[in-house]
Symmetry: D3
Subunit: 330 residues, 6 copies
């Protein structure tokens, strides 16, 4: 998607200048993984004009393979983002009616070819939320991925503006049959599957980490996931959040330290968490290292402008290892 954002803390009606960047849930994961040195390929459908081409170029720039992007009729997805500060929330205005991806057909994508030489397939709950055709396309992809022996991860990523809880539950229940690793933020399991963490009130900035173990257990019971990971945000204001991660796997639960994040740009934090998780698993880290890396990576994302998490493995590991003093590096 094209993201249009007023500079600094300006509101949309105030300014004649917009910062134009590109992002989107799966694209963000792909870029983050490419930054970590993992060969990543992004699959989507884009319009055939200069703006669609610019989106492709921005993925290429960060070494994401765009060979499997197809082009066709339909618009470029756009979202407008006003950045909040203090008590004032950031605001997203989505402008994604009639996009090229919404008009995608099943035969736009040859999943067997796409997955040749691949080892992992990741998708987010936003994609099936875009329409019945995309639910079907996701299912095609999952089936092909499973057949080809890939690991499959899904970030539930519930968006109330795109579908109802019931629609999400139905579609994701079906897709989660294929999923090995389930990734959620502090609200997704409740929103999509009705599994709430006790003692937690997100709006009141109360997160009960222990309760998420039970949420994970319930998710595993239902879907037989290998791993369930949560990013847990405690929002004190639009400028300052606490940020932690929890990874449940085979009956064990590991929790990261809590990062106090000073926010430059919080969009894409969940995607950077997913990418950190996927990287760590591919890199063979143990469970605690995995959740520490994923959480540190996504804590750092909050300090990076734009959707993409433009940090290296070294930078993440420094933070994951506990260095948070922010001393200058000369």
């Amino acid at each position: 998607m094209l993201r249009l954002s007023p500079p600094g803390f300006y509101r949309l009606g105030q300014t004649g200048q917009l910062d134009a960047t590109y992002g989107g849930s799966e694209a963000n994961v792909a870029v983050s993984l490419a930054n970590f040195g993992i060969e990543s390929s992004f699959v989507t459908r884009l319009p055939r004009h200069a703006v669609g081409h610019a989106a492709v170029q921005n993925l290429q720039r960060y070494a994401v393979c765009t060979r499997h992007c197809v082009t066709g009729e339909g618009r470029m997805g756009i979202y407008f983002l006003e950045k909040g500060i203090g008590e004032r929330s950031s605001v997203c205005i989505y402008d994604r009616n009639d996009t090229a991806i919404q008009q995608a057909a099943r035969d736009d994508f040859d999943w067997d070819a796409i997955f040749q030489d691949a080892t992992w397939f990741h998708f987010s709950g936003i994609t099936p939320a875009l329409g019945k055709n995309l639910q079907q396309i996701c299912q095609d992809a999952c089936a092909a991925a499973k057949k080809a022996g890939l690991l499959i991860s899904c970030d539930l990523n519930y968006r109330a503006k795109l579908w109802s809880r019931q629609e999400a539950c139905e579609a994701l229940t079906q897709l989660c049959q294929y999923v090995d690793i389930c990734i959620c933020n502090e609200e997704d399991a409740k929103n999509v599957f009705g599994i709430a963490a006790s003692g937690t009130s997100v709006e009141d900035a109360q997160i009960n980490k222990a309760a998420y173990v039970e949420v994970a257990q319930e998710l595993v019971r239902r879907f037989n996931f290998q791993k369930v990971a949560f990013s847990l945000r405690t929002s004190h204001s639009a400028s300052d959040n606490d940020w932690a991660g929890l990874l449940y796997s085979k009956g064990h639960c590991c929790i990261s330290k809590t990062h106090h994040v000073r926010i430059a740009d919080r969009v894409g934090a969940g995607d950077s968490f997913a990418a950190g998780l996927i990287y760590s698993i591919i890199a063979g880290k143990n469970q605690q290292e995995t959740i520490d890396f994923a959480t540190a990576a996504s804590a750092l994302k909050h300090t990076i402008e734009g959707d993409f998490n433009l940090v290296s493995v070294n930078e993440v590991e420094r933070i994951a290892a506990g260095s948070s003093s922010g001393r200058i590096q000369r």
Copy 2:
């Protein structure tokens, strides 16, 4: 519409910054008239979010009445503009699928109320090009305007990306029954009604002014227009054009001087020509003064950034009176 344009001569794929302004054919006419001191009201349908609201605010800023703008479902129309220079053309990418105005219904607009106290109704050929519903809405407006005794002007403004010549011909033939003053650029009459000026090749920068008198006569024969006006652009490059105007009325033809225009931003030139014409007629100028003012106003538009022609009557009259030396005014 929201117009998104890279700064200077950058291409869309090169830059992370876009200049965001607002425009659109009838809006441009309204702003230009308001700058000339004419009370103007703009009627459209906009989305209910911050970007739609910003469009309203930009009209208000230039003293255009927005009381009759309605809001509803649907997108904000957007266009991307790359400015050309020299041999490189400017490029427009339209992004107006599924806009709020395209979803307009006949009962969104109460034309009798809208035209209360009004004396003039202007529309462009772009509006009926947006769909059958908008053709019907235009017809409603024309009928109400006629009933209320308003003068009606139409800028043919043919856009090949929106409809075929045949569709345009059918729809505009019907609407032109109501029209008193017909405004065209050097290609519109040919594109819409098949009436070509002999000895003219727009792509080769050859304009035969005399032949446009015959085009005007043919238009009057078909539609009984009171007046027909042409803006006549001779394009030497994206940076330098010649620009003249011709006004045919009651068997007489007046031609303006030819302005050599150095181009800062050529979008909206035709709209500023229409506004100059409407202003001059309202102000009671004679035929030669009218075409001189309209042409000078639109020549000046080429030096103004954005769609809107932000010049005053005094500034136009100085140019219309022949002052083109561009000496500094202290």
Copy 3:
């Protein structure tokens, strides 16, 4: 006034770029009220040139009626603003000698016409501080407003650079005879009328809220105000303040919650408090709701760039209702 401000935290001597916006105490109130859906009209005197016109356009943009602005000789008021951070204070340099408003004459304004159909008149203590002529003009306005049955509010807004405490006391004592609702910051009552809150040291960031009840009582005793409202700022640094409000009316006192504000731009906070108060009273809120809304509105102002408080009623009510977690709104 034209406000000229270096971008970000740059100092005036460092940068060749200035952000140009428009503001001023009563203008800020008018814009804020217009944003809340209240028809507002701003009355002033401006120079007859492009910069004066730009000021008018910026008010129109936010739907403030400028029909009663007159133009004439004299300058545009200007102020230069350097934004502070942490221990470094923001700095204002006023450049308002010889402005058009300072040269205003009594007959520039026909108050009976201006107040036709009006229900409320608001002015700030800055206006009479500009000269004897403006004190007289304020008195004319107050008398006309009273005669026409308007409610009158005054924000004391003491500015030591414009007049001495004694001058302010004399002029405002006279004008306050007409005033129904008196609005002060934590220092105004002391500066203007010598009524200090005990246990309060503004420079040391100590505010004794209880003591302001007594200040309110004393103000009511002297001027028979219907309501007295205080905005109470505790300044920890140029970046972080506490912000609360207190409304005294008919022997009762309501105090808002204390907002911790992260500051993007603190200019105009008092004006946004006044506007929030006026809106709430017009909207028929009760006393607690009124001070909660006014305080929340002005707490939000600290997050908005420029003098104007560009927030909607919904946004304020969300904060007033206690939502301060700053979670993103998608």
Copy 4:
């Protein structure tokens, strides 16, 4: 003066960003001379605040000595500049009521001290136009300069917004008694002393160079100038001018080649011409070389943003020697 200018070709009402630079006739001459390696000192009176200090810093930056600048009450002079293009003229809006320099008193400047070690005194007609006190101060300076054996140059620089032709004539007639070198643009002699060049119509872009010899002769007859120099602008549009110079000295007249100038910023062209002239005379160039250098320097000024002519002696001499092909220098 502080110069505030919208970026590119934007109009003042369109943009929230202004480019802030510093300039003014004598300051521009001083900077240009300092760039040519001549020790230059600028004498003025400035306000005691950050903006006044920024003006001083901008002169220091270009190696102009500011030791003799005094500070005091009063404003910073400001002018707003909209840059024109093609048929649209550049527009200056002066905002210099009540400036610190206008409030200068005779004893603010100790001319004997200022002129110690100096060899040249230059002033422009703008300074005495600011008030009777400044006429007296100019006279003091001229008398002291004459006494100290300095050469004195004056650029007539008539500004109709500052004084009438008659006022200018009276004041400058008196001051010109002291002047050795008189510098004029193509209109000054007519405007100030009523000495018109025959066959010349500035507004119609007709300049009769030969006639300026007679103007020079008449000026010498009246004031016994050693040298009279004219810059001769033929304005085809705000973007393209012809530019030539003429130097009359001891009965001989030398005319430069005519430069076709593509205009980036034409403000300060006359000042850069004066500086080129002064430099050439100090450097001991002959009469033809002098006018060629002065004209080439000021032709180059049109390509430099801001008031100051930021070019070196080498760069000017390259142009003066006829190199105008603009080939890249690597």
Copy 5:
């Protein structure tokens, strides 16, 4: 190289903002070819830090393969560019001492691997100018390319700041033994090999096209080139040039039309000419089409900001086919 350039026409000493882009002769050719749909790979040696990485990312963005870029000690090459206008030339300040590429060793590059699957090798005369090691590396590359059956093109690209004419002649005489297609600007053959075109004075804007046929013949006689191509620039000013191309092959000479170019950015024009030539040959165009395409491509380059020629085959062919009216494309 990192290119640092003040915005617009500012000089380096005036501005605190620099536009940072990336370029360099062979990189520019690679990007241009990639834009034309030709798989291109760029081979160089870059420093191991964020700026070196950014250079890689900017090539990737435009689909250039960077797999063969190696990293190591040494600096990033930098050049500062001031853009000229009118009589004022653009100025390049090179800052390339001690760069990573200058420190390259022969075994940094495994040419057999690099040329696997390749069909064309292009280099410019700038590379061997950087040092004896780079002359040897070029020779290694040429030998390997020849062995692998690639076509080899060389753009002589003489830079007087890097080496003397004699050094260039010696090194390029050796390398040209391998070269199939020799590309020169209007001065290179004279500067490098002492073969001047009669009747041509570049500084005086006189180009005798016919004489370049003889230059081509002499080059072919000496080096047995398959083809010799010249870009022929006639520089009227820094803003306006004439631009033509000449291609000599097997005794025949084809000359393109002369394009009048309005210059946005002239750096990289020669590289875009080389890329246009290479593309046309690969695409199988005939000799006239080839020189027309190459010349049109490089004429367009003058309208594109930055070193890279960001235009498509369609855009070039439109210009090559004679469409130079610059009419807007909607």
Copy 6:
């Protein structure tokens, strides 16, 4: 040095715009002192081109005398700076191979002439770190300064990228024989001379102030310094630090209050501390006042963009006196 920095919190690879400022340890001290009204002269060697000249101009702008800067072969030193936020550190990439200063020869500087009329010589440990020639040049300067009776201060300023601890120890041990006042940050004494403060772990944000008295005593024992001063940074994050100072002199130790600094730009903080110290000693402040001023000055530096500490004596004294509420100054 030229400092190139992406705007805001962007990373180097993200942006095409760089903020270009100038700085460097001793230059920063000179500018800060000049801002405090102390005549300061900066001595260095710079390249002979527009960028070297721009560096000189930026020092002149802040009233630093540049008469003793010499020019010659070699590059301009450059550093790239990414600003950190929260857990993300700021990153410096130095690009100073082969600079003009690194190529300096002993006879480039005539220290007797340079120190004529001077009273103080300050240098930092970065200069001798640039090479043996610069160690010798520093020694020449120290010897000449001592001979001329100047006070000599040295800021140890250890940079691990420039030399090893052992090299630093050897060179600085020799130079410190001449030094009267030694200035260190919380790590320098340990890094250079191996004198560690007990109970201190900089990376863990633990500073044991008391232990620095012992470090000072050991330094005095070794080098017989008159005074030893430490700036003591406790880094909580890249955005928030604690900042204090300690001055040891003749057996007494004074410690400043601890400032909580909100960071706009932390580069140059140590230099501003040195300048505050030097100013206070020159101004005759007592020991406590001296460390309070130096610490307040450098606390304020963290709020100023760029390397230079652009604050006045008044502004520092306000902070030093305890005013840290950051209330707006109108």
